[in-house]
C-alpha cells in the first residue's frame, strides 16, 4: 500500500487529507502512473495549473518508482510567504 497526503485544493478535490491506495491492481508503478490515475479519476485535479508530487518528503519527477510503504504528497501550486 501507498499513502497519499493531499494538501490545499488537492485535499478539497479528493475530499480527504490522507488515503491509502493499493498500486498493484491499478498498475501504478511510478509517479507518472499515479498522476495519470488521479487526473482521470478526479477531473478537477487535472484542471489545477500544476500538480507536483513528493515521495517520502522529497520532490519526485514522474519517472520515480513507487514502493510499498511510500508516502506520496499531492502538491498543488505552493503559495507560502
Amino acid at each position: 500500500m501507498i499513502t497519499l497526503k493531499n494538501f490545499g485544493i488537492a485535499r478539497e478535490i479528493l475530499q480527504q487529507r490522507e488515503l491509502s491506495l493499493d498500486p498493484e491492481p491499478l498498475e501504478i508503478q511510478n509517479v507518472g502512473d499515479l498522476r495519470t490515475y488521479l487526473f482521470s479519476k478526479y477531473d478537477r485535479l487535472a484542471m489545477v495549473s500544476s500538480v507536483a508530487f513528493a515521495v517520502n518528503e522529497e520532490y519526485a519527477e514522474d519517472h520515480v518508482e513507487l514502493r510499498n510503504g511510500d508516502t506520496i504528497a499531492v502538491i498543488p501550486p505552493v503559495s507560502g510567504g
Binding site: K5, G8, V48, Y59, A73, I75, V78, S79, G80, G81
Partner: protein, 138 residues
C-alpha cells in the same frame, strides 16, 4: 547558523534577529511579510495557511543552506506561520546577518523568492463572496 521554524503562534521579528546575532555581523537584513487587505482589486478578509510540515521545514532548510553556500553569511532565520491570519498579521519573517550588508540584502531576497517557489505551504484567500486557493488555477 540556520534557524527554521513553522509556527501556529504569532511571529516575532526580534526573535529572528536574536537568532542570527553575531559579533562578526556588520548588518542584519529583516524581511517581514504581512497580510494585505486586497488582491487584484478585491478586498481580502483573511488568509488561511496550510503546510506539509516536515517537508516544509526541510525545504526551508535547503534554501537557507543554498544561500549560505552562495554568500558569506553568518546566520539565516526563517519563521513561517500556519493557520488563520487576519489583515496586517505576519505570515513570514526572514532575518539574515553577514559581515557586510550587500550579501545580507541579496540573500534575504533570494530566500523569500525561493520560499515562494518550492516550500509546500498553501494559502487560501477569503473574500466577501467566496474563497480561493492562491495560484491553483491560471
Amino acid at each position: 547558523m540556520i534557524d527554521i521554524q513553522l509556527r501556529s503562534e504569532a511571529l516575532d521579528a526580534q526573535t529572528c534577529l536574536d537568532a542570527v546575532a553575531s559579533d562578526k555581523a556588520g548588518g542584519h537584513v529583516l524581511f517581514v511579510g504581512t497580510v494585505r487587505d486586497h488582491t487584484q482589486g478585491k478586498k481580502v478578509n483573511k488568509l488561511d495557511f496550510e503546510s506539509y510540515e516536515p517537508m516544509a521545514v526541510k525545504e526551508m532548510h535547503k534554501i537557507a543552506e543554498r544561500a549560505m553556500d552562495k554568500w558569506p553569511l553568518l546566520g539565516i532565520s526563517v519563521h513561517h506561520r500556519v493557520g488563520e491570519l487576519e489583515i496586517g498579521e505576519i505570515p513570514v519573517i526572514i532575518a539574515v546577518s553577514s559581515a557586510h550588508r550587500k550579501e545580507a540584502f541579496a540573500a534575504c531576497e533570494f530566500v523569500i523568492d525561493e520560499l515562494k517557489k518550492t516550500v509546500p505551504i498553501w494559502k487560501k484567500e477569503y473574500f466577501d463572496d467566496g474563497e480561493v486557493w492562491v495560484a491553483a488555477h491560471p
